[in-house]
Symmetry: C2
Subunit: 117 residues, 2 copies
DNA sequence: GCGAAACTTCGACATATATCGAAATATAGC
DNA sequence: GCTATATTTCGATATATGTCGAAGTTTCGC
């Protein structure tokens, strides 16, 4: 628990989880994570991995809806976007991923109980 | 990405994240995780850690609202509840936590990029 | 059996979300 | 400048969510 007793921290974490709590956005985010992994297909900055259009490729949603979801992810702090010509490139926000990892570490104690079973 | 390309798996993960994506529910869940950790304050089954009332202690919400949130967490598969006398005891669902951990492992590749910075 | 304690269910309400299509904006290439 | 491509903004709409208070359900202890 520790730092998540802090209200702003808790709220921010909840906002990130909420943003990921939609199949389309989770899918978009995972694809981005996938693109960023192992230095593959990353742009010049190594931080930007795919453009908005690529992320919604097989999602079967309107461009405006895709744009909306990307905006939600950005506002939650999960991704960063940067215009590059016609394209708008997206990348995972590393700080955000680190925070999510910290949050999930809270659960480590629970596995211990599981092991005890 | 791997298993999260699978639609049911993705949807289930999104449902869990969505359930955690509200400050009150995240708070409730973290408290439960906290209670389960290190074998502290756990009930007879070792799986049930706190009753509904305890979980909403300093949340300042109506009992009916608390009940609603607990139900959401249960329906998302994150917690289990069991009546014990007047109390309804709650416990973290270990399977769910394991799934969340698996999901977060998808992010491990991204840290590698971070380290490269 | 009665009253209190701990929850849940119900009904109402305000607000937020997901979605689309149409129109607007930005950029590249000719 | 004109056109095509990529993306965003806007307005509309349907549905979902968070919240409460009032009433109902279970169970305990007397």
């Amino acid at each position: 628990m520790s730092k998540f007793r802090n209200k702003p921290t808790l709220d921010r974490a909840a906002a990130m989880l909420k943003a990921l709590g939609h199949p389309h956005r989770l899918s978009i985010f995972l694809r981005l994570v996938d693109c960023c992994g192992a230095g593959r297909c990353c742009g010049t900055e190594a931080e930007y991995a795919a453009c908005v259009g690529d992320l919604g490729a097989d999602l079967d949603i309107a461009p405006s809806t895709l744009s909306h979801h990307v905006k939600e992810l950005r506002q939650a702090g999960l991704i960063r976007v940067e215009r590059n010509g016609q394209r708008v490139e997206c990348g995972v926000d590393l700080q955000a991923v680190a925070e999510l990892r910290t949050l999930l570490h809270q659960f480590d104690g629970v596995s211990a109980v599981a092991a005890k079973d």
